[in-house]
């Protein structure tokens, strides 16, 4: 049935392509694409798979997807192990800005996850490469534990403001200092703009709200380097030598993980752990390729349907 539907679709396109202008072809593709989105989810999946190349890479979010603080998501270690047996590359992508790559690795290894430091790609790494490229001297509003990823960067007489997740720095005095620097012309760089994240004691404000407040006060636009920016995903994938159409992203943040990945041309799987809240899957358009309970279910889906 799969190949019949595909044959029918290509026949339809071929008939028209000989007779109509480019614009009509675009209109038709739009109609088909819109129809697909309102189809039964199974049909939608079949159509979205058509035109995609074989899966080569899986990008996996960390906080909220593989673990919540110091507790692993049940079954996640085994699921990762199964995924590694398949012929796909795996990369761990995270907007976590409180910890350096080394800290992240240590925590995950303590939770019995099998991974290496070079498989981790963080928004801190993305920020550092931007600072080096533009030769900025940053005021780093990042947690002390994340500073290690910026060793070697000159921070004297700062002329740029870098905002990560840094509750200790989000006080009135420090934000005023950052605000005045930006008014004087310093660029504002946001490691990411997550609205909030899940802590042991409940939800907590991410850097996004503070970046938004500074943008409003100084009438400027921040340069965002982390998820859901397209370049974050393409940068992570280019290290694996594959294109977005050959990759899938698994995460708990519907906008930053799934929305961002799909916008970059990847498939997105939303998991109902971490910061997920009921109804999140309806907040992005197109909706997630799949919404499932947790990481092990996402891996099962990949192994059964996407390889």
């Amino acid at each position: 049935m799969f190949s019949l539907l595909i044959k029918q679709r290509f026949l339809l396109l071929k008939q028209f392509s000989c007779r109509v202008l480019d614009k009509r072809k675009q209109d038709l593709k739009k109609i088909i694409s819109n129809t697909i989105h309102y189809c039964h989810p199974v049909v939608r999946q079949i159509f979205s798979m058509a035109g995609r190349r074989a899966l080569k890479a899986v990008l996996i979010d960390l906080s909220g997807t593989l673990h919540v603080e110091d507790t692993a998501v049940p079954g996640a270690q085994d699921a990762l192990h199964c995924l590694r047996q398949a012929s796909v590359s795996v990369k761990f992508v995270t907007n976590t800005t409180k910890e350096s790559k080394r800290n992240l690795l240590e925590r995950l290894q303590r939770l019995n996850f099998d991974l290496q430091e070079k498989e981790i790609f963080t928004s801190l790494s993305a920020a550092r490469s931007l600072l080096e490229q533009k030769q900025h001297r940053p005021l780093l509003l990042v947690e002390d534990s994340a500073l290690e990823d910026f060793t070697g960067i000159d921070t004297s007489h700062p002329n740029a403001v870098v905002v990560g997740l840094a509750p200790d720095h989000f006080n009135y005095q420090t934000l005023n200092r950052a605000f005045r620097m930006i008014l004087d012309g310093a660029p504002l760089i946001a490691i990411h703009k997550a609205r909030y994240y899940k802590r042991k004691d409940g939800l907590a404000l991410g850097p996004g709200p503070f970046v938004t407040g500074l943008e409003y006060a100084a009438e400027c636009k921040a340069t965002v380097v982390g998820k859901p920016e397209k370049t974050f995903f393409t940068q992570a994938l280019s290290e694996l030598g594959c294109s977005p159409s050959e990759a899938v992203m698994i995460g708990d943040d519907v906008r930053d993980d799934v929305g961002g990945a799909q916008n970059a041309g990847m498939l997105g799987i939303l998991v109902r752990t971490g910061k997920y809240r009921e109804g999140d899957e309806n907040k992005i358009s197109p909706p997630p390729h799949l919404t499932c309970d947790s990481f092990p279910d996402a891996v099962e889906h990949i192994l059964q349907n996407l390889l």
């Binding site: 200790d168 939800l203 404000l205």
Partner: protein, 272 residues
């Protein structure tokens, strides 16, 4: 035909509304500092035939406290002439049966005595200054994110203001932070809300076209007043920045060095 440009239109004015911070005085350590010429300017306006009111987004202290501060600085001003946002906000929550979680300056809390704050179903945010700690903001955020129908009232939406030791973030920045975090839109009580300006005009018994607003905040004072149908003049004191004179959306009816100059020009037009 009556003049519509500045300062010509001053001939047909019946009332003037003044902003406080940045026009009468600059806030800062202690009581702050009166802006040169402003005390005299207020006296001259009161001695004229123009009605006078003060419209402020001041939310660091109760009305009584900051009027007392201005009187100590030498200003001839009384509580009944001053319109800050907190009393308006209290009226709104009472009318709508809402119980607020407050993220405001300690100095303003007293204003809310008598308002039921148990089991909050909305948040009121004011200029909390040092109280805008991560923890306090997080608490306000948690109240909102836990509500089925979250309501956020912001006492003003200013971007920043000037104190004696430099520019400081105003409530607007934190309002935007919570709006973004919770994906909602705040209701602004205070300048530049239309209903807020209207309540002042009602008190004066005047129509918008008979009234002039003088302020240092181009968007919230001048722009807000113009949106209401009043004239708006900006002073080059307080939070004024030269780029204000090339603003993409708001053009002041007039720009003057300070309140003293504005008042002299007005009274000259009226033959004084």
């Amino acid at each position: 035909m009556a003049a519509t440009g500045w300062p010509g239109f001053a001939k047909s004015l019946k009332g003037v509304i003044l902003d406080l911070c940045g026009v009468l005085y600059d806030s800062g350590e202690g009581d702050g500092v009166a802006i040169p010429g402003s005390i005299e300017a207020v006296k001259k306006l009161k001695a004229s035939d123009l009605q006078l009111r003060f419209c402020t987004n001041e939310t660091q202290a109760t009305r009584e406290k900051f009027v007392a501060k201005l009187q100590r600085l030498g200003f001839d001003i009384s509580v009944s002439e001053v319109f800050p946002p907190a009393p308006a906000a209290i009226a709104v929550v009472k009318q709508r049966g809402l119980r607020p979680h407050l993220l405001v300056h300690d100095g303003l809390l007293q204003e809310f005595d008598g308002v039921d704050q148990t089991n909050p179903n909305c948040v009121i945010i004011g200029d909390a200054a040092e109280h805008f700690s991560y923890q306090n903001l997080n608490e306000a955020f948690r109240v909102l994110i836990g509500l089925e129908n979250p309501v956020l009232f912001s006492l003003g939406q200013g971007r920043y203001y000037k104190e004696t030791d430099g520019l400081k973030l105003d409530v607007g920045a934190y309002m935007k932070a919570l709006e973004y975090a919770c994906d909602l839109k705040a209701e602004v009580i205070g300048k530049p809300s239309l209903t807020f300006f209207q309540s002042v005009l009602n008190d004066m018994g005047l129509k918008p076209h008979e009234t002039l607003m003088i302020g240092d905040d181009l968007v919230n004072d001048v722009g807000g007043a113009q949106y209401c149908g009043m004239k708006g003049v900006q002073v080059r004191t307080g939070k004024y920045r030269p780029s204000d004179e090339k603003h993409p959306t708001v053009t002041a009816d007039g720009t003057v060095d300070n309140l003293a100059q504005a008042v002299d020009m007005i009274l000259k037009q009226r033959g004084f």
